[in-house]
């Protein structure tokens, strides 16, 4: 029955009085791809952090590959094991790599962590991974400061894949890239999914990217899931007012913005400021 690599049920996170995530549930099937769409304050990044164990849920369960991971683990062995189940690629290519490590060293460290392989086996695998993400020899031996944003993201993807995870969380991983580079990385991600069968959880506010890369989507607004379904049906025929507003706000050929019709929720422009 459970063919799902990731199951999240009733997830809730409170920061003091603020409820960042409220009763969020979703599943990701084997080789599937789910988008979590929302703007700032939607709770999408908090959800990602809870799934990978960087944040502790207030309530709810998270199950990956059949194993519970609802709370961050203290044990190093458990954290390593979880690292082989779910990995993450962050948004900012400029701070997601150790500035003192070459791409090869970065990947090597992860390989050493998860596998007890001898040096030559590791070298082989590093070459495979850098090839998979489209980095050449020179780039693999370079320090991050010699690499462009797109190249750094490739290194970050290779590092995540070195752990051979079942699920890869892409936290706005292409948002900071130039349009032409973004297209290359999106193609790369599609190729990786085809060749490795990894499942994606894409956190994004960019509906066009979501359409390109994912099969299913949940839409978050202020910590709550307001709509869910297949990407095609939610984007072609949105039901919830917020989803409609979101879709209408995306620039595309022939798009014209109109005032008032698109007043952003939570925008306190009209509200009374404190005295």
């Amino acid at each position: 029955m459970s063919d799902n690599v990731l199951e999240v049920d009733g997830l809730r996170k409170e920061f003091g009085d603020l409820v960042a995530v409220d009763d969020v549930s979703f599943t990701v099937p084997q080789a599937g791809s789910l988008a979590i769409v929302g703007e700032s304050g939607s709770g999408k990044t908090t959800i990602a952090r809870m799934i990978v164990g960087l944040e502790r849920p207030t309530k709810g369960t998270i199950t990956a590959c059949g194993q519970d991971r609802s709370t961050p683990s203290r044990s190093a062995a458990a954290r390593k094991r979880r690292g082989r189940e779910i990995q993450i690629v962050f948004q900012d290519p400029y701070t997601s790599l150790d500035p003192r490590q070459t791409a090869q060293a970065t990947i090597d460290e992860v390989l050493k962590l998860h596998h007890g392989w001898p040096a030559d086996r590791r070298r082989e695998r590093i070459a495979e991974l850098t090839g998979l993400v489209g980095l050449d020899e020179r780039q693999a031996r370079a320090l991050p400061r010699a690499l462009s944003g797109g190249q750094r993201q490739r290194v970050a993807i290779a590092r995540a894949l070195a752990a051979e995870p079942r699920v890869l969380i892409l936290d706005e991983s292409v948002a900071a890239l130039d349009v032409s580079i973004q297209a290359q990385v999106l193609n790369l991600l599609a190729d990786i999914r085809d060749s490795t069968g990894v499942s994606y959880v894409l956190i994004s506010h960019d509906l066009a990217v979501v359409r390109q890369l994912t099969n299913d989507v949940i839409v978050l607004h202020r910590g709550v899931v307001v709509e869910r379904g297949t990407t095609a049906s939610v984007l072609d025929d949105p039901q919830h007012a917020y989803t409609k507003r979101l879709r209408a706000s995306v620039p595309r050929p022939g798009w014209k913005p109109r005032r008032g019709a698109l007043l952003a929720a939570g925008d306190t422009a009209g509200e009374e400021p404190p005295p």
């Binding site: 164990g53 690292g83 990995q87 701070t95 997601s96």
Partner: protein
């Protein structure tokens, strides 16, 4: 300083400076000059006792306070010993003492800073409070206390100063470590399952290392002054050992009598080296900040 350095030392220093320019990139002419002075002092600390033209300990009271003459470029001190030889021999304890202080403060300070930055929360609060309390103790006060409890000598003084300097290291490094810790690459390593120790030692420390080096360099200068003061007070290195601080103390009687050279020469050595360390430390600090 005692710039009447024999020719061989000058050549050695020049070639060291050339090979070290990579390390000194961005420190400017002041940085390079300071590094040169430090290099000379280090070399003298190592070989001083061997190249001293005369025995630094052989006293001859009938020669006391005679000015520069014959082969004695700086004259004789209050006990008739060759001043230049004592300066060269004294470099060792004068440089070694601050080195011990700096190493002690750095190791202790980095450890506490990284642990506080990594664990945050209660652990950070406790460590920060302890460090704050230590801030209240001036180094010399602790050194005097240590001398009273453990007896006068370099070891007690150096240990006390290391503890007194540790808070300065801890404070600066904690800030830098906190910043590193919040970077996504650290989070990525945590998600990979890397251990806290591995992340701190292999990633956080190396990335704050430039700051550590800059701090250490400046601190050396302060430690040297403090230790010289402690020795001057008779609580550090004990006479008749050659040590710049001791020399200032011993020879101060010569100043009102018109024989300032021995005391001033020793003082000049301390000043020159301290300025060099401070200048270089400042430049390194600026470079470390600029690189962030």
């Amino acid at each position: 300083m005692s710039a009447a350095a024999p020719a061989p030392l000058v050549t050695v220093h020049a070639s060291r400076a050339r090979s070290a320019t990579g390390l000194l990139r961005g420190t400017g002419p002041a940085g390079i000059a300071s590094a040169a002075v430090i290099a000379i002092a280090t070399v003298v600390a190592i070989v001083g006792k061997l190249v001293a033209p005369y025995d630094p300990t052989s006293a001859n009271l009938s020669l006391n306070f005679i000015g520069p003459s014959g082969g004695h470029f700086l004259g004789y001190d209050f006990e008739g010993r060759d001043v230049l030889s004592r300066l060269l021999a004294g470099a060792q304890s004068s440089m070694l003492g601050p080195l011990a202080v700096v190493i002690g403060a750095l190791v202790l300070g980095s450890l506490l800073a990284v642990i506080a930055a990594w664990r945050r929360g209660a652990v950070d609060a406790v460590i920060s409070s302890v460090v704050d309390v230590l801030f209240a103790f001036p180094g010399i006060l602790l050194a005097v206390l240590a001398a009273a409890v453990f007896g006068a000598g370099l070891t007690a003084a150096a240990t006390a100063l290391a503890i007194a300097y540790m808070p300065y290291v801890a404070r600066v490094l904690r800030g830098a470590a906190l910043k590193e810790r919040s970077q996504p690459y650290v989070a990525a390593l945590e998600v990979q399952g890397a251990s806290a120790t591995a992340i701190c030692l292999r990633h956080i420390l190396p990335n704050i290392a430039p700051l550590i080096v800059a701090q250490a360099t400046t601190m050396f200068g302060y430690a040297m002054v403090d230790l010289a003061a402690v020795s001057f007070l008779g609580l550090g290195v004990q006479p008749p050992a050659a040590d710049w601080g001791v020399m200032i103390s011993e020879n101060q009687v010569g100043i009102p009598e018109g024989y300032p050279l021995p005391a001033l020469a020793a003082g000049a050595c301390v000043v020159a080296v301290v300025i060099a360390f401070n200048l270089l430390g400042e430049r390194l600090f600026e470079r470390a900040q600029g690189a962030r």
